[in-house]
C-alpha cells in the first residue's frame, strides 16, 4: 500500500500526469469555444483521431515533421468545418452530424490505415516522426522543479500557453464577445449585424484546430505510432472537463488536469496486483462521479426556487 502511494506521489508521476492531461486539455479548450458559441462540438473525439492518423501517415511518407503538423491541423480543422457546414448551412442536428463524423473517423482511419500499410491495428510499419520534447535551459538543472517544468513535449507547452490565449480571446477580444453573444442570444447578435452562422463557423473551426493539436500529440508525442481508436474516449472526457470548468479556460484547464491525473493514477496502479479492467475504467468512473457531484451542486445552488416572471423585482424609481 505504502509502495502504491510512493508511486503516485513521485515527481515522475506529476510529469506523467501533465503528459496525459495534454490532449484532454487541448480538446477541452476546443469544447469551451464551441460551447460558448452555442454549438457544442461532440466530434472532438473523431477530429483528434483523424489528426493523429494524418500526422503519422504524412510524416511517415514524406519524412517532414512540419508537413505532418500542417496537414494534421488542416484536416482536423476541416473536419470541424464539415460539421459546421452540416449543422449551420444544411441545418442538420449538430449532435447527429457529430456522431456521424465520429463513426466516420473511427472506421475511416482503420480503412485508410489498412489501405496504406496493410495493417488494420496500428501503424507500426510506418516510420513516423516524433514532435520533440523541449528542455528548458537552467530550469532543467533545478532538482524537482526541473523534472516538473522541463523536458515536456512541445505541444504540452503550446497547450499551457493556449489556456491563456483562449481565455484572452474569449473575454478580451471582439471575436470572443461575438462568440459569447451568438451562443447566448443569437437573435441579439443578428440584430446588430453579426452573422450568427459565420461566428459559429469560426468557433467550430477553432475547436477543431485545438482538438487536432491534441490528436497530433497522441500519435507523435505520447507514442510514435497510430493505433485504431487510440483516442480512447479522450474527446468525451474533454467534454466532461469543459462541463466542469464552465466557460472559463482556467476552470476548464483545472477540469482537464483532474481527469488527466486520474488517468495517470490508473497507469501507476497497473504495476500492482489490481485487476486491469478496474484501473482502466478508473478515469471514466471518476468522470461520472465528478459530473454527478457537479450537477447535483448546480441543482442545489439554483434550487432555491426562482419566481419565474422576469419582471418581478423591486420597482425602484
Amino acid at each position: 500500500m505504502n509502495e502504491m502511494f510512493q508511486g503516485i506521489l513521485s515527481w515522475d508521476f506529476i510529469a506523467s500526469g501533465i503528459r496525459v492531461t495534454t490532449p484532454i486539455l487541448l480538446a477541452a479548450l476546443g469544447a469551451l469555444i464551441a460551447e460558448s458559441a452555442g454549438t457544442p462540438n461532440i466530434a472532438l473525439e473523431g477530429i483528434m483521431l483523424i489528426s493523429a492518423f494524418i500526422g503519422v501517415i504524412v510524416s511517415g511518407f514524406t519524412g517532414s515533421l512540419w508537413l505532418a503538423i500542417i496537414f494534421g491541423v488542416i484536416v482536423g480543422t476541416l473536419m470541424a468545418a464539415i460539421l459546421a457546414y452540416f449543422a449551420l448551412k444544411l441545418k442538420t442536428d449538430i449532435i447527429l452530424a457529430a456522431i456521424a463524423l465520429n463513426i466516420f473517423a473511427s472506421g475511416g482511419t482503420i480503412f485508410f490505415l489498412a489501405m496504406l500499410t496493410g495493417d488494420k491495428g496500428s501503424s507500426a510499419s510506418v516510420n513516423s516522426l516524433l514532435i520533440p520534447n523541449v528542455t528548458i535551459p537552467i530550469i532543467d538543472k533545478i532538482p524537482i522543479l526541473g523534472d516538473i517544468l522541463s523536458g515536456h513535449h512541445s505541444i504540452t507547452y503550446v497547450a499551457i500557453v493556449l489556456i491563456f490565449v483562449v481565455q484572452y480571446m474569449m473575454y478580451k477580444t471582439p471575436l470572443g464577445l461575438r462568440i459569447r453573444a451568438v451562443g447566448e442570444n443569437p437573435d441579439a447578435a443578428e440584430s446588430v449585424g453579426i452573422s450568427v452562422v459565420k461566428t459559429r463557423f469560426i468557433a467550430l473551426m477553432l475547436s477543431g484546430f485545438l482538438a487536432s493539436l491534441g490528436g497530433l500529440f497522441l500519435s507523435m508525442g505520447y507514442v510514435s505510432w497510430f493505433a485504431r481508436d487510440m483516442t480512447a474516449g479522450r474527446g468525451w472526457i474533454a467534454l466532461a472537463a469543459q462541463a466542469l470548468g464552465g466557460l472559463n479556460a482556467f476552470g476548464v484547464a483545472a477540469g482537464s488536469f483532474l481527469f488527466g491525473f486520474t488517468e495517470a493514477v490508473s497507469y501507476s496502479l497497473q504495476i500492482f496486483d489490481i485487476p486491469y479492467e478496474f484501473t482502466q475504467s478508473l478515469p471514466f468512473i471518476i468522470t461520472i462521479i465528478v459530473l454527478g457531484i457537479y450537477a447535483w451542486r448546480k441543482v442545489k445552488a439554483s434550487g432555491k426556487l426562482n419566481v419565474s416572471n422576469s419582471s418581478v423585482g423591486p420597482t425602484e424609481k
Binding site: 461575438r178 442570444n185 440584430s191 449585424g193 453579426i194 419565474s308 423591486p314 420597482t315
Partner: protein, 516 residues
Amino acid sequence: MADNCILEMKNIWKIYPNGVVANKDMNLKVNKGEIHALLGENGAGKSTLMKILFGIEQPTKGEIIYEGRQVDISSPHKAIEYGIGMVHQHFMLVPSLTVAENIILGMEPKKGLSIDIDQAYRFVQEQSDLFGLPVPSKEKVKDISVGMKQRVEIIKTLVRGANLIILDEPTAVLTPQETVDLFNALKNLTEKGKTIIFITHKLNEVKEIADRITVTRRGRVVGTADVKDISEIEMSKMMVGRDVDIRIEKEPAQSGEKLMEINDLEFTRTDGVKSLKGISFSLREGEILGVAGVEGNGQTELVQIITGIIPREKGRIKLNQVELPKITDPGFCRDAGLSHIPSDRMERGVAADSTIAENIISDRFKKVPFSKNGVIKWKEVYGFGEEMIKEFDIRTDSARTEIKMLSGGNIQKVVVAREFTAHSKITIADQPTRGIDVAAADFIRRRLVKERENNLGVLLVSADLTELLEVADRIIVLFKGEIVAHFKEVKQINETVLGEYMLGIKRMSSEEMGDL
C-alpha cells in the same frame, strides 16, 4: 409637408407562403421628427408592416421610399445602414454581458487585439448623456430592470446611427412609472430630430404621446390623422370597426360559501426580499376579487404559490375545503378545482409548437372522452377543438393550426378556452387581457363575469385599473407584500383612489378593511 416626409411605404402587400395575407395594399407616410403611432388590434398587420420596414420580412409587392429615395431593405443589417432602428417587444440583449458590451457588440472599439473597454464605457456614457438616456454601463443586463433594458435597446439603435426608430409595443412590459420615463425620453429624442414609429393598441398612450396616427385593421390601413383632431372614441371605432362597449353590465354580487382561504402567507425571494408578509384573505362563490398593485409588490408570488408553481414559506391555503400541502404542484391544485390563466401565456399558458386542440385538452387528455384505455381519441380532441374555436371566437382556419401561427389575442383565447372549460370552481386570472386586442379583451372580461354568475369564484390580478374597476366586485391592494386596502364597494371608487394605495401614499387600518 411633402418635403418633410422621411418615410413612405406604398401599396405594401405581404402574402405568406401558407396563404395568410398580412398586409393588403398598405400605405404609410411618416414625417420627420414626429412620433407616429401605428394603432391596430393584434393581427391587424402593423407588426408585419414594421418587420418589412426593418428588413426582417420581404414585401410581396410594394415600395419603400426613405429620405427621398427608393430603397430595398433586404435585411435588418441593411435597415441599420439606412438609419432605421427597431426596438423589439422581446429584447435582443445578451443577459450575461454588461450594458456597455451589449451596446458596442458588433462595433467594438479596439486597442491592439483587445476590445478597448474603457473607450467603450466612455462611448456609452457619452451617447447616453447626449440622448438623455442614463444607463448603468458596467452592470450585467440580467441584473437590470425591464425599463432599463428597453433604454439599452434604444441606445443600441441610436449609436448605430438610427434616425427612424420603430418601437414595437414598448409599454406592454413597463410599469406605469417606467412608461412615463419612456415617454419623456421619446419626446426628448424627437427634439433632437429623431423620428419614432410607435406600435401600440392602447388608445390613451396614443393620445398622450403621438403626433399623428395611422390606424390599421385586418391588414389594411383605415386612415391617418393628427392626434389632436381625433378623440379616443373615434380611434377605437376606426380600430375595431364597431363600438367597443367598455362598460360591463352585471348584477350585484351574490357571494356564497368560501371557496379559497389564504391564511398568513409569507414568501422570501432568492434576493432576500420578503415579497409576501403575512397575507390573509378569502374568495367566495359568485364573486370576482380584484388584486391591484404596482407590478413587483407580491402579486406574481401570490399567484404562483396559490397555483402550486412555487412552494410557500409559511401560511395555509385552502382550496375548496382542501388544505394544500406545503410542497405541492400545479396538478394538485388543478385537481382541487383551480384554473389558472397565467400572465405569461407563451411561458406557462401554451405549447407554441402544438395545435390549438392539443393545447385545449392539455389538462384533460387522460380523461374520457379524449382518451380511452390509454389511447388518445384524436377525433374527439379535434371535434372539441373546433367547438371551442366557435365558442371562444378564435380566429383561425382549423383546430390543427399550431399556436405559434396565431396572434396574441387568439393565443390568449385558447388559454381561456381551456381554463374555462375545466369545470373549476376557482379561476386565477393573472393579467388576462394584457397585450391583446380590444375585442378579445372585452370577450375575456365578459367570460370572467359569466363565471361569477355561475356561482364560481375568480381572483383577478391586473395592472389595468379600468379593468379591475369594471370587472371586480371587491378589490384588495398589495403594496410591498402586504394588503393595504380593501374595497367592498368597487362602484364607489376610481383609479385615483386606487393609485394612492398602490403607491403607498395611504393605507387602511384593519378596521377600515373589515372582513377580507
